[in-house]
Amino acid sequence: MKIFHAMGLTLLLLLTTLSSSGAAEADLRAIIAKFATVTEFSETGAVVQELTATGDPAVERPLAALAEGNLYIRTADSMVFVGKEGDENVQLFDPLSGEAAGVASEDDITKITVNNTLRRAIRDALGTLTLGSKDPTVRIAAADTMFKTPDAANIEPLDAAIASETVASVKALLEQARAASVLVSDKPDADKLAAIALIGSRGDRDAVSLLTSVEANASGAVKEAATAAIANINSTLALWDAGQNIWYGISLGSVLLLAAIGLAITFGVMGVINMAHGEMVMLGAYTTFVVQQVIRTSFPGLFDWSLVIALPLAFLVAALVGLVIERGVIRFLYGRPLETLLATWGVSLILQQAVRSIFGPTNQEVGNPSWMSGSFDIGQLAITWNRLWILVFALTVFGVLLYVMKRTPWGLQMRAVTANRRMAASMGIRTPWVDALTFALGSGIAGIAGVALSQIDNVSPNLGRGYIIDSFMVVVFGGVGNLWGTLVGAFSLGIVNKFLEPYAGAVLGKIVVLVLIILFIQKRPRGLFALKGRAVEA
């Protein structure tokens, strides 16, 4: 009898061990099912906590889906699914195994809503759960979240993770995260001082943020160490701030350069006060939009190339419009600057309203290709990719233009016509054609500037308005008729502006820059680099 009993017990034990994973899964499913009954964010939060408390890595899938707003409840049977939105229906997947579970129409399912607080809670929870991930980037993200949300309970898992970590850079981050957790624990002061030293060596804003809250809650040696570390980091950060201002200035300068460079030709070289210059930029931006629209609907795989494809098209569109404007309006008005100003202003209004009628008054979405999104860090300097590419692009356009002007026969003719129209005509240069093509070139360059600006500004019929004043400022400041002047003018205005902005604010900063330019023009009416020639005087 006893033997039977013992055998029965062993059997029972065996069965439990075998089915333990199944039981855990059933437990998880029971918890997940609770999502179907929640009505408030706090209740959703409670379920999230319950799921996290199981410590089972399997909860990563439903939690991540919840954070992204992809967790649904099927109204018919209150089952919870991970959903993937398609064109018409939502594809459903099992929340734990990830197996496909059919499709449902949007009316048959309800989304479990999340807010920022919940998203943050989930992110923190996932941080601990993904500490052992195979992917180093996931581990880095986990270490990062744990650094930002220190918790004494994190020390143990972090210790384990540090011991098994093989990548040195990840290990350093994990140690910093551990130090952050030590600071909020009740460990002895000696440990905390070491932790402060470690965090202090990190030297970024997150470290300051953490140490400030430690400083506020600690006392004695720890408080002093934190204060010293903060002061130390802040003094280094001040230097980085100056570097950052220079970078922002250069970046603003590159935008100004791009916007002004076409004008440097139409206004600078030809002397046409072209108020429709901004609209050429806008046409370039709209060309980008149309190209992206076509790519989105017909060739989605080419999206990352959309800007490259848009460049020549934008040049052509804007150049063609420029050519028509020159042949149709401006050629009758050479030598009459006031009339040119009014006529081109009228043209700019016509172009704006035309675009508004065709595309509608609202902003159009121009997407950033993946290589233009996000940022990377150099020390404490965050450099965004789109700004960097725009700088490279502006300098390239400048270089190409300089080459065309200085090294090609066409450029020679252009310069000859500018310097002395009658003499050039006597030499057999067809000045009307040179005028038309020069204007088209200036407009075309404004068009490709539009491609770049579509990445940082909104594409609306008013796009050009914002750049016209700045462009004239750059060209006049740099010296009419001199490309180098435009380059130096754009970058110096950009940097001065960005150095003033943190102190004076954006509004006052702009006013100060304007006053400085007026004073400068009083002193040197011809700008930084005045061009010497006969025709320019007239």
Partner: protein, 436 residues
């Protein structure tokens, strides 16, 4: 030269407008119609926002005509284009009232344009329905404010951020465009935050010009301000076009809504349409209406809108709902008064109650502001907002803010016998101080 230039500019825009008018003129009215004026910019900088409202009004008037019109007459829309030019708003308003003899006008977006038409409406005694959220500090006999006053948008939004659900925010960045609405709203918010015990060093206020596009310095300043170990949020009154580059820069510099949420008062579905919203998920907006609100009224409204505009992708937004409410209130008041005579309609308006699109009723109060629910929404990846908080009841628009020293003693009540827009309860006299 400068003077000349600006006059010439005006002449140009005026002539363009005139040309536009000529084209829209042929619908000459017979006497058996009631004319309704629509005063929204169809060209210039504000066209982006106001054109939609013009279309929404045309749709509402169409629908009313399909229902048989008003007082047995058909309604007729008279559309003019003030071209985002503030003085032109006043001229066009005068033209609508004196020449076209409209019964009421629906229009304006910016506060400047509203201020510019106020004298015209009181002189010629007509009615203006103003559909946009604004800074308050005003209550005119001839104007009905169907947009939100600061206490129907700004204050509940800040309350939400201070609550546990909103993240218990302790440090505030007030970021705005440099003009009257952000400046007044921020003044009110600053006073309100201080009354809630927020220290002065925990509030940073910054202004940028209209159409500002280089946000690098501002965004990194926000990042810096946010790294002081306290939960930080940005309250944004940044207007119009400047929002897109602002949000792009936020996304690029990696400011996530979970860390530093941005609560916007001027960003609606329309503004998000020009943006990839994936990096912005979780940033907030406070309105009285979202397109995503799931009510039968709203579903019907959206369906009608798509049919009218012949585009299934066009979004609806809060000022459109305000016009929906305002127009229906006017229709009801005219029916109640039995006439379109502005004097009688103004008196009949107070107390009129019509359904709004968020599943409740909005009522016109004696201060010419309406009751509305306040919704807080988070931006979603599909460019829509998801409501994360809704005031339990309706909030009554408070025209004179209780948080500004100049206006805290003022009330407005346009019913007889008081009939005063700025009654000072301390001195007991009509005609108090307002911050204009």
């Amino acid at each position: 030269m400068r003077g000349n230039f600006s006059t010439i500019t005006k002449m140009f825009s005026a002539s363009v407008v005139a040309a536009g008018l000529l084209m829209s003129a042929p619908a000459r009215a017979a006497d058996d119609t009631i004319k309704v004026g629509i005063l929204h910019s169809l060209s210039g900088t504000m066209a982006i926002s106001e054109t939609t409202l013009k279309d929404a009004m045309l749709m509402l008037i169409d629908e009313q005509n399909a229902k048989g019109g008003l007082l047995g007459k058909k309604l007729e829309a008279v559309v003019v284009d003030p071209a985002s030019n503030w003085p032109l708003f006043a001229e066009k308003a005068r033209e609508l009232i004196s020449k076209d003899k409209v019964a009421a006008v629906f229009g304006c977006w910016t506060s400047v344009s509203r201020k510019s038409v106020l004298p015209v409406f009181s002189e010629l005694d007509n009615i203006l329905f103003y559909p946009v959220q604004y800074e308050g500090e005003e209550s005119e006999r001839n104007v009905f404010y169907t947009g939100a006053a600061p206490n129907q948008q700004a204050i509940p939004a800040v309350d939400y951020l201070m609550s546990k659900d909103g993240g218990s925010v302790k440090r505030w960045v007030l970021e705005g465009t440099d003009y009257v609405y952000p400046r007044t709203t921020n003044k009110i918010l600053e006073a309100y935050l201080k009354s809630k015990g927020v220290a002065a060093e925990d509030i940073m206020t910054n202004y940028t010009p209209f159409g500002f596009s280089d946000w690098q310095t501002e965004v990194s300043a926000i990042k810096k301000f946010g790294s002081a170990g306290k939960k930080t949020a940005v309250v944004s009154t940044v207007n119009g076009d400047a929002n897109v580059p602002f949000y792009k820069e936020l996304g690029n510099q990696g400011i996530k809504a979970e860390d530093i949420p941005v609560m916007a008062f001027s960003v609606g579905e329309e503004e998000l349409a020009g943006l990839d919203t994936k990096p912005l998920v979780g940033h907030l907006a406070a309105w009285n209406y979202f397109e995503s609100v799931n009510t039968p009224e709203n579903k019907k409204f959206i369906a009608n809108w798509h049919k009218f505009i012949k585009n299934n992708k066009r979004t609806t937004n809060d000022p459109m709902e305000a016009h929906y409410i305002g127009f229906n209130m006017w229709v009801k008041a005219v029916e109640k008064a039995g006439t379109t005579d502005p004097d009688k309609v103004i008196d009949a308006m107070i107390g009129v109650s019509v359904p709004n699109l968020t599943g409740g009723y909005s009522t016109m109060m004696p201060n010419h502001h309406i009751t509305k629910p306040v919704l807080i929404g988070e931006i979603q990846a599909n460019g829509q907002f998801e409501t994360v908080s809704k005031t339990p009841g309706l909030v009554m628009g408070d025209e004179w803010s209780d948080y500004l020293p100049d206006s805290k003693d003022l009330i407005s009540d346009w019913r007889a016998p008081l009939s005063c827009g700025n009654f000072n309860v301390k001195t007991g006299k009509c005609g108090g101080k307002g911050t204009n």
